[in-house]
Amino acid sequence: MPPWEIWDNHSHLSGVSGRTPAERMAAMLKIADRMGIQRLCVFMGMDFVYDPSPERLRRENDQVLAAVRAWPERIFGYVYLNPKHRAASLQELDRCVRDGPMVGVKLWVAEHCNSADLDPIVERAAELKAPVLQHTYLKITGNLPGESTPMEMAELAARHPQAALICGHTGADWERGLRAIRPYPNVYADLCGSDPTAGFVEMAVAELGAERLLYGSDAGGRSFASQLAKVLGANIPDAAKKLILAGNLKRLLRPILQQKGISV
C-alpha cells in the first residue's frame, strides 16, 4: 500500500462498540490507523432514524460534536439536517457550522433532494462554504419513501450551481448514478457505500474526471478495506488515486477550514 494521505469523506459512529461518541471514535480510529487513514468526516448519531425530529437532530449532532471535540486533529463533523424542519435545520446549521467546529452538511432519507425545502439549506451552506453531502441510492427493490436518487441530485445541482454538492454513494448503481451527475461540475461523486465492484472508479474517472471523486468508507457499516480497494485496486494513474483519496476533499474543505483557522 503506497504511503499516501487518506481522508475519509463518509463515516459514522456505528459498527464499533463504545458507550459514548468518544469511545466509539477511539475504537474507529484504531482501525483507521491500521488502514493508514488520517482524517475522517463523521455525521449522524450513534444510531439513526429516517425522519428525525428537531430534538433528535440536535441530539445526534451533539454526539458528533463530542467526537470532534475528543479528536479535533482527526475528525471533521458534518451537521445532520432534515429539510422537513426548515427553521430547526437552519438553526442547527448555524449552531454546528457557523458557530461550531463542523465543516459540512449531511442529508439522508427524510426528504427527496429535488424538493424546494432543500433550497434554503443549500444556499446557507454555500454561504458558509460547507459542502452538502446528500445520500442517494437506486434500488431496483425500491427506495425508501424519502430516499433520493442521483437524478434528483442533478435537479438540485442545476438550481444551485454555486454550491458544492456531494452525491452520496453515487446512487450505488454507479453506472446510472455517474451518468446522472455527469453534466453538473459542482457535484462530486462519493464512492462509498456500495460493493467493491470492479470498474466503478475507472468509469468514474473516465466520465467525471478524477477531480470530482471522493473516497469514503461508510464505516462502520462498511469496511474501510472494501471501500479503499475501489481506489487502490482501480486501473487509474497514481496521481488520480492521490486526488481521490485526499487531494479533492482537502481542496473542497480548504475554504471553510481556513475560515475556522484550521490549516491542513
Binding site: 459498527g15 490507523d33 491500521r34 480497494a229
Partner: protein, 332 residues
C-alpha cells in the same frame, strides 16, 4: 503496530505480511497430501484440460501465499470487467500473492449447455491458468440429466468440486433435487461451493433478477448428508449462517470473506465461526481482489488466524482431510 503513528501512518511491514506479495511462491514445492482428495475422482481418461487440473493442484503452494476459493472466469452478463480476460486475471492474482484460485465460470449462471461451459472452464484453466486456477464446474439440478454434468466434472475434468447458483437456477434448498445433488457430490468426493448470491440484489439489472435464497433449510441438509464438504460463497449475512460452520459431525461447512462487510469484520466473525472454517475468497474479477486482501489487514489477526484463513483451511479442505471444527488448524 510498531511504526503506526497517531496520525494514521500505515505499518507497511504488517500490510505486506497480510497481503503477501509472494514473489517466489510459485517455485515452492507442493506439500504432501494436497491432492489426496482427488485421487478417487481422477479416474477418467482425461485430456489436456484434465492434466491441467492435476498440474494446478500439484503446483499450488498452500505453504506460502494465498488460496482464493472464489474467482470466476468468462464474462459477467451485464458489463465487461477490468480483469475478465483470464491471462490478466491470473497475472493480477499472482501479483497479489494468490498461488491457487478455485475458479467457477460466469457462464454457469445462465447457460443451459453446462457441459460446454464446464469443458471451456477446464480448458481455460489448463491453457491460461498458469498452474494457479483450479476449475469448479457448474451443475444445475433443475436441468434434465444434471447428474451427467456432475459426473463429467468429477471424472472427465477431474475437478475437485462443483459450484452451484440456486438464485440463478431457480430452486430453494428444500428442493429434493438439491438434497440428491449433495448426496451425489459426496459420493464423488466433490467439494460443493454454494454461491448464495453474485451481486447486491438491489443493484441487479431489472431484467436479470436473481433472488437471494433462504439458507435456513441448509442446517438439516448438512446434518443429513454425511461427508458433505460445503463452502458458502458470497455470504452477505455471515452471522446468519455461522451456526452451520460449528455443526459437529461428519460434514463440514466453510465460509469465505468476499462479501464480508463492516469494520474489522474478520475478527468479529471469528468470534462466531470456528477458525478452521473461514477461507480467503475475493469474488474476483467481479469484485476488486484488493478488497479481500485489505480485510486481512483491517482486522487484528494472530499469525495462526492468518495462516488458517489465507491458505491452511482451504488446503486442508482440498486435500479432503476431515477436521472437526473444534480442532486446531493445520499450519500452512
Amino acid at each position: 503496530m510498531s511504526d503506526s503513528t497517531a496520525t494514521g501512518g500505515l505499518d507497511r511491514r504488517a500490510f505486506l505480511k497480510a497481503t503477501a506479495v509472494a514473489a517466489g511462491a510459485q517455485a515452492m514445492a507442493a506439500p504432501q497430501g494436497v491432492t489426496a482428495g482427488l485421487s478417487n475422482s481422477a479416474e477418467g481418461t482425461g485430456g489436456p484440460a484434465t492434466r491441467g487440473t492435476r498440474s494446478a493442484l500439484k503446483s499450488a503452494t498452500p505453504s506460502a501465499g494465498l488460496i482464493d476459493v472464489n474467482v470466476n472466469l468468462s464474462r459477467w452478463p451485464c458489463r465487461r470487467l477490468p480483469l475478465d480476460e483470464t491471462p490478466a486475471l491470473v497475472a493480477h492474482l499472482r501479483k497479489c500473492g494468490v498461488v491457487q484460485a478455485w475458479a467457477g465460470s460466469f457462464d454457469g449462471l445462465l447457460h443451459k449447455n453446462l457441459r460446454a461451459a464446464n469443458a471451456r472452464l477446464a480448458d481455460e484453466c489448463h491453457r491460461q491458468g498458469e498452474a494457479v486456477l483450479i476449475p469448479f464446474g457448474s451443475v444445475n439440478p433443475m436441468l434434465p440429466d444434471w447428474e451427467e454434468d456432475l459426473r463429467r466434472c468429477a471424472h472427465q475434468h477431474c475437478m475437485p468440486g462443483i459450484r452451484l447458483h440456486p438464485g440463478y437456477h431457480g430452486y430453494k434448498f428444500d428442493d429434493p433435487a438439491f438434497a440428491r445433488l449433495l448426496r451425489l457430490a459426496v459420493q464423488e468426493r466433490l467439494i460443493v461451493q454454494l454461491a448464495l448470491c453474485m451481486e447486491d440484489e438491489r443493484m441487479m439489472s431489472p431484467l436479470l433478477r436473481a433472488p437471494a435464497v433462504d439458507p435456513a433449510p441448509l442446517a438439516a441438509l448438512v446434518k443429513q448428508t454425511a461427508g458433505l464438504r460445503l463452502v458458502l460463497l458470497n455470504t452477505r449475512s455471515p452471522l446468519s449462517v455461522a451456526p452451520l460452520t460449528a455443526l459437529q459431525g461428519p460434514s463440514e461447512v466453510y465460509l469465505e470473506i468476499a462479501m464480508l462487510e463492516g469494520v474489522a469484520a474478520i475478527e468479529r466473525l471469528l468470534a462466531a465461526v470456528p477458525l478452521t472454517r473461514l477461507c480467503f475468497g475475493s469474488h474476483a474479477p467481479f469484485y476488486i481482489i484488493e478488497s479481500a486482501l485489505l480485510k486481512l489487514h483491517e482486522s487484528v489477526l494472530s499469525d495462526e488466524q492468518l495462516r488458517a484463513v489465507r491458505r491452511a483451511n482451504a488446503a486442508r479442505l482440498l486435500a479432503g482431510k476431515t477436521n472437526s471444527a473444534k480442532q486446531r488448524p493445520v499450519a500452512g
